[in-house]
């Protein structure tokens, strides 16, 4: 059983939901990321989604676009991101790490090379926004041969037939995008999410994480009532943006937001 699956099984026993923060690797600079990851774990993160910076993040709103730009100013490459995960693993053997990003940096590195290096660095899963299941084919096989879970996105507009297709390729968890839009958009509607989760759960065997539009403890707690995991990105990345020149302060503020969510979810 993968580190991600074991984690969800363990949380289920405890009656808890997974808190899954996203930060972009290398934001505001590469030296901060590993400390940030440890900080997130202390604040209550169960899984870390680590963004691989990309020049054209077309599914992301301005917050994460700018995070990518800050990281790319320091030339943060996919290899650098893997090195960060390896460093994180030296003192954390338990918290699953999912790399989230776009396909082209992986294409450039080569699927075999990437999958092998990711596994050796201690990466547990990959979420490639622009790798749809029907195009995954051999690549999905390469990822699973290297014990990497493959996390796919499901949107409000995804049909039931397509959810069933996505389910065939999914492992670890699926990521339900709560609203029609890009990251950092307007608030989500919990009743609407709950309704969609019914049709998703009928077709998917892995846990469902919900992201997009989760801003604070209140929204996190509301989503935790209906989902298996709560994914939060832009609300954290905004704190990094506000403190881009004071990385220590960025870690303090990001972890404070996350801790508030943890408390609200577990209450």
């Amino acid at each position: 059983m993968s580190r991600i699956s074991s984690l969800f099984a363990e949380l289920e026993k405890q009656g808890k939901k997974a808190l899954i923060p996203y930060v972009t690797a290398g934001d505001p600079n590469p030296a901060v990321t590993v400390d940030m990851m440890h900080g997130l774990v202390k604040a209550g993160a169960d899984i870390i989604e680590l963004g691989v910076p990309f020049s054209d993040p077309m599914a992301d709103g301005p917050t994460i676009q700018l995070a990518c730009e800050r990281a790319l100013e320091h030339n943060t490459s996919l290899r650098d991101v893997l090195a960060m995960v390896a460093e994180f693993r030296q003192s954390n053997a338990d918290t699953p790490v999912v790399l989230m990003g776009y396909l082209n940096p992986v294409e450039a590195m080569g699927y075999e090379t990437f999958a092998k290096a990711a596994h050796e660095s201690g990466v547990d899963g990959v979420l490639m926004v622009d790798m749809p299941p029907e195009e995954s084919g051999e690549n999905a096989q390469i990822f699973s041969d290297n014990e990497l879970d493959i996390i796919y996105l499901i949107a409000p507009t995804t049909t039931n037939e397509r959810i069933a297709e996505i389910a065939k390729f999914s492992s670890g968890y699926v990521y339900y995008v709560s609203i029609k839009g890009v990251t950092g958009s307007a608030s989500l509607d919990v009743a609407d999410v709950e309704q969609n989760l019914v049709r998703i759960r009928e077709r998917v065997n892995v846990p469902v994480g919900v992201g997009f539009g989760i801003k604070d403890g209140v929204t996190a707690a509301a989503v935790a009532k209906v989902a298996d995991g709560v994914i939060v990105g832009s609300a954290l990345v905004n704190k990094i943006a506000e403190n881009a020149n004071q990385p220590d302060q960025a870690i303090t503020e990001v972890t404070a937001v996350l801790a508030e969510m943890r408390t609200a979810m577990d209450a």
Partner: protein
Amino acid sequence: MVRRCWLSTLVRKKIIAETGAGQHGVATATVAARLGLECTVFMGSTDVERQKLNVYRMKLLGAKVVAVESGTKTLKDAMNDAMRHWVTHVDDTFYIIGTAAGPHPYPMLVRDFQSIIGRETIRQCDEQIGRQPDAVVACVGGGSNAIGMFYPYLNNRDVRMVGVEAGGYGLFGNDHAAPLCKGRPGVLHGNRTYLMEDENGQIMGTHSVSAGLDYPGVGPEHAWLKDVGRAEYVASTDEEALAAFRDLTRIEGIMPALESSHAIAHGMKMAKEMSSDQVIVINLSGRGDKDIHTVAEIDGLEV
């Protein structure tokens, strides 16, 4: 274009488009005006500046022009922002992509609609010279006019197909927009094709004197035509394109778009190596009025 908009009126009231040179933006704004649809056009802020005439044209037609400030502020960033807008407003908005790239089925749709160019060429050649040309030549940015010209000729192996990319300051450096000549395969905007990218898979900024060719990718069908060897892909530099712009204007009285001028430059090169009874068709994909400011600035004049 009109047919594509008719489709959209059946279900959705708003249309969006991205544009580089503004040609596609103007076309979209025109049919939107004709059909009473709300139209928003995304355009990199660099291109808004260098294609002022088309921006004004779109505004006169009632379209809203959004100047995109992200990334390199050119066509690829306009496409990113159009996609972001589209996924956010998918219930009432239809996205009319202006080139033969993007996620399936866009490359196919755009190819099929643009194929009117090649079909018309076949008919006119039949009527006017009683045979088909020895070569067809078209400029390639995203590659919509070129695929439209090439597609109906695919199975006529006697016709050479030549796509001309933007060579910018020359292919020796990175200041060009010629992914088929100098790029390598990758994934951008939902399709796998040749891209201008660095060793880490980050998309590079491009350079071309023509906004419409200033794109780091190319329609995936061109990538395939290159790989199977059915079409040839070359590049003309900014300088060659400008010279061709002046030549066609002075000699024929036709002012071509700077995009099309790339094809003209290469077509003239090819002609020198062919015999006088052979025929080349060069696709004049756009008119040059919109580029007068750019050319005047190069000449050191203010218009």
